[in-house]
């Protein structure tokens, strides 16, 4: 390459993340060969429930944990901002002191930027309040601000919005967008799929393993089979592939003629038996990220119970 373009350099050279990283806690495999990349100026989301491995992955990225196997690529410690799950602030310091302390640790002066972030988060009036006396949502906002006040290259946020009310959630996302607009690679863990759908890249974890990965559109496109909507819960085999959403039932009909026919028969059967009108099996609906991740979880659950080839 005699004439490397700066554009190429950017595309191939600048990302943070993991390459086939595994983490063992004693005999427990918390992360199993997980590959994940976060690009500057983008928001990447890691989703999964309790015990999925989100926190372990984020701790690796933040430099708080070493990999048992695989490679972690992260910037120098002072270029990382990290909000651990459920804390990240000093309860005995005021809001302003928390920010001043964090800025000092990173050797930056951040008075104007800190004030701007506080304003954006609706925290200006609480500057002199002890962090320990803030509401849950306010404390989370302060934690995010404290993690980004030194303008890190990699901003790692562990569940910044869990248990946070919807208004604070909007303000948190405004802060997150601010960090990405300033060029940070933002990685956040969440259990909310609508939130992950706003991210550029999504990694869904389950029991330490990758369940799905890519842009939200790619994950939806990669979903096998179709999702159909019913007014009543199906019975029989199809019940194992059904879940409730918006007070109706969604059924995953996997690919393959035999499997699909089995599903349809089970759906149509019981409706007539109890004398109620036949349940219409709707046309396949346009699946979203939540459907696709739910289907991936179901497929894994069924594969593990050995009751389904899919």
């Amino acid at each position: 390459m005699n004439t490397p373009t700066s554009n190429n350099e950017k595309l191939t050279g600048s990302w943070w993340g993991t390459d086939a990283v595994s983490v063992w806690y004693g005999k427990v495999l918390a992360l199993d060969r997980v590959t994940f990349r976060a690009a500057p100026g983008q928001v990447s989301a890691v989703v999964g429930g309790d015990g999925a491995g989100r926190t372990t992955l984020l701790r690796c990225l933040a430099g708080a944990l070493a990999a048992s196997e695989g490679e972690i690529r992260r910037p120098a410690a002072r270029q990382i901002g990290y909000l651990p799950a459920g804390s990240g602030t000093y309860p005995d310091l005021t809001v302003a002191e928390n920010l001043a302390f964090r800025a000092a640790v990173y050797g930056v002066t951040a008075d104007a930027r800190g004030a701007d972030y506080l304003e954006r988060a609706g925290l200006s009036a609480a500057r002199d309040r002890l962090a320990g006396r803030l509401s849950g949502g306010m404390r989370q906002k302060l934690g995010v601000i404290a993690a980004m006040v030194h303008q890190p290259a990699l901003l790692v946020l562990d569940e910044p919005t869990t248990g946070v009310d919807p208004v604070s959630r909007v303000e948190l996302w405004s802060l997150i967008a601010r960090a990405a607009a300033d060029g940070a690679a933002v990685v956040l863990a969440t259990s909310y799929l609508d939130e992950a759908e706003r991210a550029s890249q999504v990694l869904a974890l389950d029991a330490g393993r990758e369940l799905a990965a890519g842009t939200p559109e790619q994950i939806v496109a990669a979903m096998p089979g179709t999702v159909r909507v019913m007014d009543r819960p199906p019975v029989g085999d199809a019940a194992r592939r059904a879940w409730r959403r918006n007070a109706r039932w969604r059924v995953w009909v996997p690919d393959g003629p035999a499997a699909a026919l089995d599903g349809l028969a089970a759906l149509a059967g019981p409706a007539a038996a109890d004398g109620r009108p036949e349940v219409a099996l709707g046309e396949p609906v346009q699946a979203d990220l939540q459907d696709a991740v739910t289907v991936a979880s179901l497929a894994r659950e069924l594969a593990m119970s050995g009751g389904d080839q899919q």
Partner: protein, 299 residues
């Protein structure tokens, strides 16, 4: 307990002009609420909106300052508490008892002896101290405990916080089954995507009810302005400089409360496509509950 007393059409829970003050602070301000059997009502609001205070008054843990609360047609009492299943935000389990002991204790409190069995799915965890169980399992234990005495009224405070989508769908199945069996359910959530699970919503802000109805009724025909551009960071800066709040969704920006021409003006020379889309419940909620009143768009 005379359960026959409650008529088919009777309200399980009713609040009429309920108010609660703490000193000069009005936590709940003249709230009306009615919940019937088989209904799932979502109680939404920002932190400090008064939801928990209202729930505590319904449970009979806190007296009202004004107005009236009636449960099953009576004032709240120990008798009415017996017919309520309550799942508190912090789950309310004893960490140093096993899952089975927690359920047995709760059964004894409700006067049902201590013979209550764990649901089959939770039996493998029965002998483990609750404090040593994963959070997801603890949540299911707490759920089982709230439901075990077949309550007529379920009050669930953020039952699905921190739960993955499939587990969340399973919890809502359980809630739906309880409602289908005739129980009334009052549920709070911060996750507005779940509003679709509720037959009706009641939105509170600053102690008052600011909206009620189905999710579709509450969002109505409100629109949000959408900006699609390759230069989202520059667009974000320009909108902020104009005092507009923009939310980043993928590579596009959503600007509630500002019509397209205002947004286009704020963007100046930035190459962008500006359009309108139906508002989400979350965006509508933000408008309804943020301290600044929603922008009126003149026609």
């Amino acid at each position: 307990m005379n359960r026959g007393k409650l008529g088919e059409r009777g309200a399980l829970a009713e609040c009429a002009g309920v108010t609660r003050t703490f000193g000069r602070f009005v936590a709940v301000d003249t709230v009306d609420l009615r919940l019937g059997g088989g209904e799932v009502v979502g109680l939404l609001g920002a932190n400090g909106a008064g939801k928990t205070t209202l729930i505590r008054m319904l449970l009979g843990l806190l007296p009202v300052s004004a107005g009236e609360v009636r449960l099953f047609g009576e004032p709240p009492s120990r008798g009415t508490r017996q017919r309520i299943g309550y799942l508190p935000q912090d789950l309310g389990l004893y960490d140093d008892l096993t899952a089975a002991e927690n359920l047995a204790f709760s059964a004894a409190v409700f006067g049902e002896g201590t013979s209550r069995a764990l649901p089959a799915a939770l039996r493998p965890y029965g002998r483990t101290l609750v404090g040593e169980l994963p959070l997801g399992v603890q949540r299911r234990v707490a759920f089982a405990e709230a439901l075990a005495h077949r309550p007529d009224l379920l009050i669930l405070d953020e039952p699905t916080s921190g739960v993955d989508p499939l587990a969340r769908a399973r919890l809502w199945e359980t809630i739906g089954e309880a409602a289908a069996a005739g129980a009334g359910v009052l549920v709070t959530t911060h996750y507005l995507d779940e509003a679709g699970e509720c037959g009706r919503l009641v939105i509170m802000a600053d102690g008052r009810v600011v909206a009620r109805g189905t999710a579709a009724e509450i969002t109505g025909s409100a629109q949000v302005t959408v900006v699609e551009t390759d230069a989202w960071a520059a667009a974000f800066d320009a909108l902020e400089a104009a005092g507009l709040t923009a939310a980043l969704v993928g590579g596009s920006l959503r600007v509630p409360g500002a019509p397209p021409d205002v947004v286009a003006g704020a963007l100046g020379g930035i190459d962008a496509r500006v359009s309108e889309a139906p508002t989400t419940l979350e965006e509508r909620f933000f408008q309804l509950t943020s301290t600044t009143s929603p922008t009126e768009v003149s026609g």
